[in-house]
């Protein structure tokens, strides 16, 4: 038997008894970040491909949601900071080895491009605002100009969308200290999931039946891809080092089994996949709403599981001889 314990009571908040530095704020942020990537990606894609007819909402209306969703995410990200007044320090430097630094800068690149994208599609996407916009001096000219450059702007948006998606995907996987995150597959998984939630959102909101069908089809493809990545990841974990095996065990019978298989795989992938297939065959009308909602929920569940479980997998994790909660008496 090996008994390996901390014999000095230690209660470093967020580290003891297991790492818990990141909470719902980060899961929400990662989810919204991925969703935003999906939103920008599909809106730009449809603009580049000139799919105004096939996907009128995606091409012209979707982009507006990007900054809204991302701002919500950035709000929770800010809430997570423990030294908040120093948030500006992200922007006085660029750290080439830190994915978070890239992220910080991608986030600032996102907003201007997203605004251009919105301006270039505003009149088409939101005709009811036209009467207002025409009254604002110079705005009509600006919108004209933007509309002229709609495709170049979309071309600019595409790499940013991909960057954002990839960044929220690989952010966690860059942490070699957390064996569950540190697989090459978490990045692709988040990327696919982000795109899938973007597609689902579009399918949910688009009004034109054919557009909904289009994005349902896209989403089916993404869900299948996501399931493949999940399978690969499970295989990868189960053949990995000790801490990775521990993570696999948590998913396969341990404390995360229910959320992982229930909330993520069943509710977030399998059921929507079935519903979407039925819907395409015209078998189930109500699925048009339910399926994308489940995909979005599944996408969030994935972020929560990844953030929480990742923090629990460590190279070193000691139990304490003493009950660290007793240190609360110091307060």
């Amino acid at each position: 038997m090996l008994e390996e314990i901390l014999i000095t009571a230690r209660s470093n908040p967020h580290i003891d008894p297991v790492l818990e530095v990141w909470n719902w704020q980060i899961s929400v942020y990662l989810f919204f970040g991925g969703l935003t990537a999906g939103i920008m990606f599909f809106s730009a894609l449809m603009q580049v491909l000139n799919k105004d007819r096939e996907a009128p909402f995606a091409a012209n209306g979707l982009a507006l949601l990007g900054p809204i969703v991302l701002s919500l995410g950035m709000t929770t990200l800010f809430l997570d900071l423990s030294h908040k007044l120093f948030v500006w320090r992200f922007y006085t430097t660029f750290q080439p080895t830190s994915p978070m630094s890239y992220g910080a800068w991608i986030l600032v690149l996102f907003y201007p491009v997203s605004v251009l994208q919105i301006l270039s599609t505003l009149r088409k996407g939101y005709p009811m605002v036209v009467s207002y916009t025409e009254r604002v001096p110079l705005l009509p000219q600006l919108l004209n100009l933007m509309e002229t450059y709609r495709r170049p702007i979309a071309w600019m948006a595409l790499p940013i969308a991909v960057g954002l998606g990839v960044y929220t995907g690989i952010l966690l996987s860059a942490f070699s200290a957390r064996p569950f995150w540190n697989t090459g597959l978490l990045g692709p998984l988040f990327l696919v999931s982000g795109l899938s939630t973007g597609a689902a959102l579009t399918a949910l909101i688009a009004r034109q039946h054919s557009e909904r069908q289009l994005f349902t089809r896209i989403d089916i493809g993404l869900i299948v891809a996501e399931m493949l990545v999940v399978a690969l990841m499970l295989i990868n974990l189960s053949t990995g080092a000790r801490p990775q095996l521990e993570a696999a065990e948590k998913l396969l019978g341990g404390s995360y089994t229910m959320v992982f298989w229930g909330a993520f795989v069943a509710v977030g992938l399998l059921i929507p996949l079935l519903l979407e297939t039925f819907e395409l065959r015209g078998l189930m009308r109500s699925a048009a709403v339910l399926a994308p909602v489940l995909v979005l929920a599944g996408g969030y569940a994935l972020r929560v599981i990844a953030v929480d479980l990742g923090q629990e997998t460590t190279w070193i994790n000691y139990e304490s001889e003493f009950n660290p909660q007793l240190l609360e008496r110091l307060r």
Binding site: M1, L2, E3, E4, I5, L6, I7, T8, R10, S11, N12, P13, H14, I15, L19, V21, W22, D80, L81, S82, H83, K84, F86, V87, R89, F90, T92, T93, Q95, T97, S98, P99, M100, S101, G103, A104, A174, F175, S176, A177, R178, A241, G310, Q311, T314, W315, I316, Y318, E321, L327, L330
Partner: protein, 180 residues
């Protein structure tokens, strides 16, 4: 780059935790937080047993993932050495460095909220003194010095004694060694 290291003799360490109190008082570490801690590892079945005590802290990794992951440069290698410090004036409290440290060596200072950790007592090292924990240890089982000086005590110990580092699989290239 000057590489400082700590060499701790587990054959002598008794797990008394003097190193922990010495650090707390020297560095005025706030209530409830610790920059170092003591681990006991017992192997075997009664009565064939082996117990090892280890005083642990930040490993001042040569490949410090806390530094590479820090988005602001707050976590940095001090004056080109391997000593890893945090500049509170650059730290956002994003906690990436905490997630990035495989040794759970970092803590959040309260009430301020910036990240803190073992500094290898650079304020003492600068004056040619040993870190507080090293100079308090009653069994004299802790040693500190320059690893790249072949004549330093730490280098000599590592040359002559069997040793290990914690979780070398992390690839962080830690600089706290344990004589076994």
């Amino acid at each position: 780059m000057a590489r400082y290291g700590m060499v701790i003799d587990t054959k002598l360490c008794i797990g008394c935790a003097d190193c922990v109190v010495a650090c707390k008082t020297e560095n005025k570490v706030p209530e409830g937080l610790n920059r170092d801690w003591v681990v006991e590892a017992t192997q075997g079945t009664y009565p064939n047993l082996e117990t090892e005590f280890r005083s642990e802290r930040c490993n001042h990794c040569s490949n410090a993932t806390c530094v590479t992951m820090c988005p602001t440069g707050a976590s940095h290698h001090w004056k080109g050495t391997n000593i890893v410090l945090v500049d509170p004036n650059k730290c956002t409290g994003c906690k990436a460095c905490i997630s990035a440290c495989p040794y759970d060596a970092r803590l959040i200072m309260h009430p301020e909220g910036y990240i803190d950790k073992c500094t290898f007592c650079h304020h003492r090292v600068e004056k040619g003194m040993d870190p507080a924990c090293v100079s308090a240890c009653p069994t004299k089982c802790m040693h500190f010095g320059l690893l790249d000086d072949p004549n330093s005590e730490v280098s000599q110990l590592l040359r002559t004694r069997k040793h290990k580092v914690l979780a070398p699989e992390t690839g962080n290239d830690p600089n706290v060694y344990y004589l076994i």
